[in-house]
């Protein structure tokens, strides 16, 4: 079963104002040594502000490709991608970097913290590329760490933190620029079930505070935390359903 789109989007249209993410017939093909792999074969999806969406699907279904496109790490072969009212599918490299910096907060399965930098400095990173001054950066990073309950761990390095704390540092880093979407790629993939629950609680709180969240996962009990589940299969949307919280 697939949810009807809020707007029947045609090329040349602009998305409705409360649509944060809109993809229209998005395709992505890779040239793997002469053989063309069609990872996405026309994905149209619309996500409103403050939605909490889980993207599921078996490996090879195209969910990582979709994730990379939504995260502006990659550009589509064809189709449109609108993020927060701006068409980003035809932007060039440096413009995409700016979009990533301003609009997207990444949370990775492997945390991806800089091992030699303390929590505060890790959270500051996006602000450096946003061009903020040192004092402002520190204050903003400290606020983000307090938001995820790590106000007392700012000076700690990643190896002095537990797995759950590391992922919370990564979430603080994702939030520090006040992004339009929080984009999480298997955020609990490297965590035990207790810690996973802890991270899901953080996501729930952020969602309640109005944050739009898109989360890629292959675990059903993690996807169960989201309000909407999109399932991909063979580069197409197989199902898109709302579920009770």
């Amino acid at each position: 079963m697939t949810l009807p789109l809020p707007q029947t989007f045609r090329t040349g249209d602009t998305p409705l104002p409360d649509i944060v993410i809109l993809t229209h017939k998005l395709t992505r093909a890779y040239d793997m040594g002469g053989e063309v792999v069609r990872a996405l074969q026309g994905v149209s999806i619309q996500i409103r502000k403050n939605e909490y969406v889980a993207v599921m699907g078996p490996s090879g279904s195209g969910k990582s490709t979709l994730m990379n496109l939504i995260g502006c790490l990659d550009t589509p072969t064809s189709g449109e991608y609108w993020l927060n009212g701006q068409k980003v599918s035809d932007l060039v490299d440096d413009e995409l970097a700016r979009i990533r910096n301003k609009e997207i907060g990444f949370v990775f399965q492997t945390f991806n913290l800089l091992p030699r930098a303390n929590a505060l400095h890790n959270v500051e990173l996006p602000l450096i590329y946003a061009g903020h001054g040192a004092r402002e950066r520190r204050a903003q990073a400290a606020r983000a760490l307090e938001r995820v309950g790590l106000g007392d761990r700012m000076e700690h390095r990643p190896n002095e933190l537990s797995g759950g704390q590391r992922q919370r540092v990564a979430i603080a880093r994702a939030l520090v620029n006040d992004p339009s979407i929080l984009l999480a790629d298997e955020p609990t993939g490297n965590l035990d079930s207790t810690t996973s629950a802890e991270i899901m609680a953080v996501f729930r709180d952020l969602h309640r505070q109005g944050q739009t969240i898109v989360m890629v996962t292959h675990e059903h009990d993690i996807a169960a935390h989201a309000a909407r589940v999109v399932t991909l299969r063979d580069g197409l949307i197989a199902s898109d359903q709302l579920q009770a919280a």
Binding site: N68, G71, L73, D74, D93, D94, A97, R98, R100, N101, K102, F106, F108, N112, L114, R116, L125, P126, I128, Y129, A130, G131, R173, N177
Partner: protein
């Protein structure tokens, strides 16, 4: 990312990876240290030659009349034989010149030969015994530490008095006062009336192993046949006056020797320029060879840095992917790695400067070479070092900047 941020990050990385950074800056370190060290030696010898040698040892605005030039590298045998056939300089030549000058000059006679000086049972061998006239001290800038030089009166009357070089006084008298004591020079007894201030050494040759006696005193027979001089020293007040005096000396000598207009001089008029010309030749060679050595070590240093930076980029692929995902543009990544390699090289160059200066002092202290640090070499060293860093960083940094963030993030 502002440049300042990139630099701060670079220094952090260097501090965090001390050993690796240490190795990578070694090449630049050696390059800059050798640049400053070698430059310092050339610079030191240069200054020595132009300042101390020309002014102190030879004398400012001074020329010497000799049978043949004093400093003559690479002279063919035939020329040597021709010089050996020339007539020698006679007392009468010196007197004629003294009478003939129309510019105010100070003159002195000089003849030298090695001999032994002894006091009681102590002997000082291989001492330069110089028979000279009284203005010799003035022309050669020899100041007395104790006692006095001999007078014109004593010179004319051939008094048996001697002025000792510092090393000779030390050798013969150790810590006794030398003044008034009798030394023996070639079987003749001389009374010590003065000791000259310590002169040190030039390029390893000691300058304090000499005895000066009046030109007409008994020991004159030990240095030259009767009536013969090694050199007639003439000191003018200014350079133009010296040139004038040289012209006059040439004219007088030519007429005394009955030389026809076509004939060459059969005597030499030497200035400190001759010695300096010789040195300039050597230092020109050094100036050509030295940059070669420095360039080679800097190129090697650059290659080392480039390799280490490539390694660093490979190791930190994930970090680069992360930074890009957080909004780093190509130029941010490029700047980060360029700053890092420039910082490594500059730190290497800074250590190289310190080591080069230390090396210079070491050379100056441990060897006869008068090394002296040149500020230009420090500036040049640091600039070249940093430049090598930037150049060596371009390729690794652009590779880092071109990395695909997705692939970079996926890397283990």
């Amino acid at each position: 990312m502002p440049v300042f941020e990139a630099l701060r990050l670079a220094l952090q990385t260097i501090r965090a990876q001390k050993l690796k950074s240490g190795f990578s800056l070694l090449g630049v370190f050696i390059g800059v240290a050798s640049l400053i060290g070698a430059w310092s030696i050339v610079n030191g010898v240069n200054r020595y030659m132009t300042e101390k040698f020309a002014q102190t040892l030879f004398g400012v605005n001074t020329f010497q009349l000799r049978r043949r030039p004093i400093f003559t590298p690479n002279v063919p045998d035939s020329v040597w034989r021709a010089w050996a056939r020339r007539p020698r300089i006679r007392f009468s030549d010196a007197e004629a010149l003294s009478d003939g000058f129309t510019v105010p000059v100070v003159t002195a006679w000089q003849s030298s030969e090695n001999n032994t000086v002894s006091y009681r049972d102590k002997q000082a061998r291989d001492i330069e015994l110089t028979a000279a006239s009284e203005r010799y001290f003035e022309i050669k800038n020899l100041r007395l530490a104790t006692g006095r030089a001999f007078t014109a009166q004593e010179n004319r009357s051939g008094a048996a008095v001697a002025v000792l070089g510092d090393a000779v006084a030390q050798r013969l008298f150790v810590d006794r006062a030398p003044l008034g004591r009798n030394v023996r020079i070639g079987g003749m007894t001389y009374r010590v009336i003065g000791v000259v201030e310590k002169q040190g050494s030039v390029l390893g040759f000691p300058l304090d192993r000499f005895v000066v006696v009046p030109a007409l005193s008994p020991a004159q027979n030990l240095v030259n046949p009767p009536g013969i001089l090694d050199a007639f020293l003439v000191k003018a007040r200014t350079e133009p006056e010296m040139r004038l005096a040289m012209d006059q000396a040439e004219g007088i000598m030519r007429s005394r020797r009955h030389l026809r207009p076509r004939q060459d001089d059969n005597f030499a008029l030497d200035t400190s320029e001759g010695v300096q010309r010789f040195w300039a030749g050597i230092s020109r060679i050094l100036v050509v060879v030295l940059p070669g050595v420095v360039v080679v070590s800097l190129v090697i240093g650059g290659i080392v840095i480039m390799n280490i930076m490539l390694m660093s980029v490979a190791e930190r692929t994930r970090e680069i992917g992360l930074r890009k995902s957080l909004g780093a543009r190509r130029r941010d990544v490029l700047r980060q790695f360029l700053a890092e390699s420039a910082a490594i090289a500059t730190v290497g160059a800074a250590f190289g400067v310190v080591a080069g200066i230390a090396l210079t002092f070491l050379i100056a202290a441990a060897s006869p070479l008068p090394a002296s640090v040149s500020p230009v070499s420090i500036v040049l060293g640091v600039v070249m070092g940093a430049g090598v860093g930037v150049v060596a960083g371009v390729y690794p940094a652009s590779r880092a900047a071109r990395l695909d963030p997705i692939a970079a993030l996926r890397q283990e």
